[in-house]
Point group: C2
Chain length 760, copies 2
């Protein structure tokens, strides 16, 4: 439907609902009264939707467009499923296969049907939920472990406990909604044969899954806790909050992603909030997994807030759960797509249902940030519960304001002391600079890596993961082996690889011990936004200090990126410094040879996946490289000497199943170097129209860049634009507090400033 049709449809819907309500007023009131009594006695629903929420929603129905529309969509979906009939197949498949998809669909439909029963007060939905739950009861008690064996913790309905937990998180909400509709006998049957053994299987029977600090465990904890809240089972609730009592796992065991199972013995929902979130709300595994973990975090927190308000869960760790939603929204590009840090599938965005939950919950339980309403409006749906109602009313009452993403620095680590992620934004450019900790088992070996976006399009990409989530033809939809051999390796990222070996020699145990550290972050000056961080452990004996800036300067059409990567080492090394650009090569100022046959760049650590499409000697002074993508022009200017090598590379070698994208890179290789300061400028400029066939501003605006000073304390870069104007950028490599006064002599000229950097 287009906008106009949507509006007409809404008018029609409102009209219908109003009519229905005016006709049924008396009987609806009666129902409400009846419910009030029963709710007061038996306290259901209470978990997410509350008895009071049901009352309020019913009172507003038909007058809250985005809610009415969400309700209508859910109703259509559930009605179609009821029409199609219940199917609870015997478990058989991996992700993407029929039984997996069916059980997954069932959990969503059960939860939605439960909501419909409460909101629409129509017994057909309760009966549907009951009937399906009884089928699950009959099936579950007969089930052995799932027949597929790939997981470190097999479920019963699904091949992994993780998905079993997903199921229970949703189904406990459905159970809560029809709790009072069931007889005590029916409830006993379900609890004894289905819910309790189900909760036990994913917890006490699968401690390697449950007893951890990991997004998997968060799902497990929430599942056990939520069914515990509904069943009023204190043992399960405590197991959810604090982990399995008196159980310690072997601290050295690992899961199939290579992550430690439980290194420090922490477990339970509270530990899972404590550990992975930094005080700024950054989630250690990155936004893709935060988005995935967000739902159980928030929905169980809602349940706790409603049933156990004395826990003050939303204030836990200084309100980090709600802070994390703000962090997550800021970890998205102009289109709302999350930056694919660590293992992250591109295209995942704040349009996903978990973020509808996040935005609605954040609005309702937080401080009613009007910016969230604009995102809710883009999402075009709300939760069918108390928080969704709050958002719908906010939008209806015109309270929304734009959600403006600015430059932001997000610390990593439980106490915010393990590096972080800095995002620099100016006009349409976004730079994501990662100087975080390892990021758990989904982390990549990408210290001080970055990616660059223009208006939501990737300019310099982060590869993301190697996986086609839920596409069965590609390895059952699971992680592909290239995720380890390519996507996690350092050479797959826009940072330094030393001697063709990944950071921490690609070893998770070592990587987990360390993190990069912030040098400084400065976003006060709108025109010069800078993030600077240092990494001392990725290569023992080598220090990397990277300072990245997005600078808006009148000599340039758009803001440009300045990158100073200062490498200091005790030994002579080879440094590979890639630029993962996209599109078509336009021009180079260096000569290169094109090989007749394409060979891999190396044999391991990701190098085996890169073909060499060209190699040449860098230019003396400045190497220039320009390219063309999506009808826009880009130019790289980077400091080189003729000793440096340039390699045109393309991903795809040793990839017999075509699991990798054939994306290109330009790699700057410095051989036999101890100390080296890489300095690069990337400009986005101009445009091309294939309709008018005109190219606008297709050339770089930079005449030259030059390092005029490079000491332990300072690095100074001179940037000369084509029109002859000369600018100087000086970064303080240490001692760089914002108040600090600097005084520096360069080429007989004295520079004085206070703060971390100088630009003029």
């Amino acid at each position: 439907m287009n906008t106009k049709q949507n509006i007409l449809f809404l008018f029609a819907l409102v009209a219908i609902v109003l009519t229905v309500f005016s006709c049924k007023k008396e009987s609806a009131d009666d129902t409400n009264k009846k419910n009030e009594t029963s709710v007061a006695n038996q306290q259901h629903p209470k978990l997410i939707l509350t008895a009071q929420g049901v009352k309020d929603i019913r009172a507003q129905l038909g007058t809250i467009p985005i809610f009415d529309q969400s309700l209508q969509a859910v109703k259509e979906e559930v009605d179609a499923e009821i029409e199609a009939g219940i199917d609870v197949p015997i478990p058989k498949d991996y992700s993407g296969g029929y039984t997996h998809v069916r059980h997954k669909k069932n959990w969503f439909i059960l939860q939605k049907a439960g909501l419909l029963y409460q909101i629409l007060d129509d017994e057909k939905y309760a009966k549907y939920v009951k009937d399906m739950l009884m089928e699950y009861e009959a099936l579950y008690k007969t089930l052995p472990l799932h027949p597929k064996t790939r997981s470190y913790a097999r479920g019963k309905l699904f091949w992994q406990c993780l998905n079993d937990s997903n199921w229970l998180v949703y189904v406990s909400q459905a159970y809560d909604c029809i709790y009072n509709y069931l007889t005590e006998e029916e409830r006993n049957k379900l609890e004894t044969n289905l819910f309790k053994p189900f909760a036990n299987h994913i917890s006490v029977d699968s401690p390697q899954f449950y007893q951890r600090v990991h997004n998997h465990s968060t799902w497990g904890n929430a599942a056990v806790g939520m069914i515990g809240l509904v069943m009023d089972d204190e043992e399960l609730i405590n197991r959810a909050l604090y982990g399995i009592k008196d159980l310690k796992l072997d601290a050295n065991k690992k899961d199939d992603d290579g992550g430690f199972l439980n290194k420090d013995g922490k477990a339970g929902f509270l530990a899972n909030i404590e550990e992975p979130f930094s005080p700024d709300g950054y989630y250690s595994e990155g936004p893709y997994y935060q988005r995935y973990a967000m739902y159980p975090f928030l929905v169980f927190a809602e349940g706790l807030h409603n049933v156990k308000p004395e826990l003050k869960i939303f204030e836990y760790k200084e309100g980090v759960l709600l802070k994390s939603i703000n962090a997550l929204l800021n970890l998205s590009d102009a289109d709302g797509d999350f930056f694919p840090l660590n293992d992250g599938q591109k295209g995942m965005s704040y349009y996903t249902n978990a973020l509808v939950t996040a935005v609605d919950v954040s609005y309702h339980f937080g401080n009613q940030d009007p910016g969230l309403l604009s995102i809710a409006k883009q999402q075009d749906k709300v939760l069918l519960d108390d928080s969704g109602l709050a958002v719908a009313l906010g939008i209806k009452n015109g309270k929304e304001k734009p959600f403006s993403k600015k430059s932001i620095n997000l610390s990593d680590g439980p106490e915010g002391k393990q590096g972080g992620v800095g995002i620099l934004r100016n006009e349409n450019l976004e730079l994501v600079f990662k100087y975080a900790a390892q990021g758990s088992s989904h982390g990549h070996y990408d210290k001080l890596s970055y990616s660059l976006y223009e208006k939501g399009e990737e300019v310099i990409q982060d590869y993301g993961l190697s996986r086609f989530v839920n596409i069965e033809q590609k390895g059952g939809g699971n992680y592909l082996k290239e995720n380890k051999t390519w996507a996690k390796q350092t050479i797959a990222h826009n940072t330094i690889t030393q001697n063709e070996t990944s950071h921490f020699t690609g070893k998770y145990d070592i990587g987990s011990l360390y993190h990069s550290d912030l040098n400084y972050f400065s976003s006060e000056n709108e025109n010069v936004q800078v993030a600077s961080a240092i990494e001392k452990n990725a290569y023992p004996g080598t220090t990397m200090l990277r300072t990245m800036a997005i600078i808006k300067d009148e000599d340039f059409e758009k803001p440009y990126m300045l990158d100073i990567m200062k490498v200091t080492s005790a030994t002579a090394n080879q440094y590979d410094f890639p630029f993962y650009y996209f599109g078509q090569v336009l021009q180079t100022n260096f000569k290169y040879n094109s090989p007749k046959t394409l060979k891999p760049l190396g044999s391991k650590n990701g190098y085996q996946h890169l073909y060499v499409e060209g190699s040449g000697e860098a230019a003396e002074g400045n190497t220039k490289f320009s390219w063309f993508n999506n009808n826009k022009f880009y130019s790289l200017t980077t400091l080189t000497s003729v000793q440096d090598e340039l390699l045109f590379a393309r991903i795809g070698a040793n990839d017999p199943d075509f699991n990798l994208r054939r994306d290109p890179a330009l790699i700057l290789r410095a051989k036999n170097s101890k100390n080296r300061t890489f300095v690069s400028v990337i400009e986005a400029h101009g445009s091309y129209s294939p309709v008018s066939e005109s190219a606008i501003n297709s050339n770089s605006s930079i005449k030259s860049i030059k390092t005029v000073l490079d000491t332990q304390a300072y690095t100074a870069i001179e940037i000369t634009s084509l029109n002859g104007n000369v600018k100087l950028f000086i970064t303080a490599n240490a001692n760089n507090s914002k108040q600090k006064k600097h005084n520096l002599l360069i080429n007989d000229k004295n520079y004085e400033w206070s703060g971390s950097y100088y630009y003029k």
Copy 2:
């Protein structure tokens, strides 16, 4: 501006214009009277904008939104240029360089300023045109040939006569608009020193450019003719219509594209209409060049219609000029992008200015097809002349209807007897089947090739040209050498390459002698659309008969493509049959080896540009291959035996300047075969959402395909869908008139039908 702002802006504009007119009514009327008299005497403007048109436009101004808005945009553009000042630099650069871009801009601004003078009756525009023309007069008389030497016909303002002609086509309109503003002395000066020598340089001084049937010459003819019409110079007008008098060129000479300069001695505007257009309006070089040539065809025709109505130019060759616009609009995909047949740059669409002219002219001088109004509305602008006024009034009066593109067969050749192009459309699928003649110097060696689109996205691509038009960094924006070595070669297309040699051994002289022939085209049945054509000359001794269908069948989610390529040969050959898909390989049912190093597939005829990324033995019976692109799934099922080879290929070998896109192909190779009937089905199916991470209908719906009969007279294919339903498609390989009754025994069962094909 968004829609809302646009509407507000238009209201404001209308209000202002109305106010201005009511205030100035008296004086405006006076001006009109004055003009009427002078127009009656001196007959200017008369070429495109007419004196009567000016009157009508002035009367409607402020009440015709799309016209008012176009006028406002042109006014802002021209005012900004007047503000910036005149620049007429000494010619120096190739396309994309400063002097080229500046002179090009000047021609547009001159033409627009002329229109503004007439419509707004403001002398500042006339003065601006006069001043710039005088600068051109001063410069032109000093100019030698353009310093860049690459063209076979160098211009003076530009590196090629073609661009000089572009200039004159536009500037003659500007001159017409200010003709009466100039003194006779001024006119004499311009005509003597600028326009006449200019017209002579591009015609009598450059006969290799002018005296041909070619889009270049069309521009030349129009340029000479239009300035002739303005100057009332019969000699120039006749030279435009009929070519240079008494001049015959060497019939064997070629231009730099390899096209014959003038094989049969024909020349002039009328010959250029006669030759390249088929009676259906298909232009022999294809839509990209038709779009380019369209402007001079139509604008000179308009001039002739206005000044020499006795020629009845729009009725010439049964009204082919207007028919050709309809053909061109039908040669675009769902987004309005032209199919890149022959040399065509992707992304060129009916949003280009030449098509604004085409649509407006077609509406005004044709039969006011209301479908054209909907395209004009999408274009969101109209010409500032009589035809633009007609369109604006049509839209204002709500006459528009959707322009619906249906399946269409367009004959090629001056008499429609040289093959053609068939387009099959059903729902979102579009199949473009090319069985045309060589297509002049911009033709490719691609007999019986096709491309497939879904909703404007390429599923099976035609590579298009190898050129980055007007992007100076890529070979000056001109054709790259890979256009000959790759883009024109047969292996670059979705058709048969025999023995690794292109059709007609890639020789233009041979290719130009032949064309494919239609077997039949049938689009009466909405669910089964078929095009069938035969090629007997591409490989002497080998005949290719290809029958392509788009079939909508209830066993399939979307329409599917059926392709029967029947090759018959006197000798044993190798046949290569590529599928230029896009995106990621999902699954194959055959085994293949992945080479450790990538080598070119061959050494010439385009094969040198393909890397082999994998090779294997085909499956016995049906080879299946599925892929994933833009979140949609595609499957190929093709008849093979284990003697067949399958090659994964990728474009990009021997491409040191990275001029080619690294796109993939799957190539089916049949070795040592005399007769071979390739049968393939391509399905588009399902979808994937990276936000919900759910894959829908990701598998092929085909169980098997089988040839059950294959004779000289008939080929019969049995298609069994996954749910077990069996359908039979029989195509008549000869004797296939629509009335013809067929009676055929297959496996003891009798099939009777009338028409070209059977499907049930």
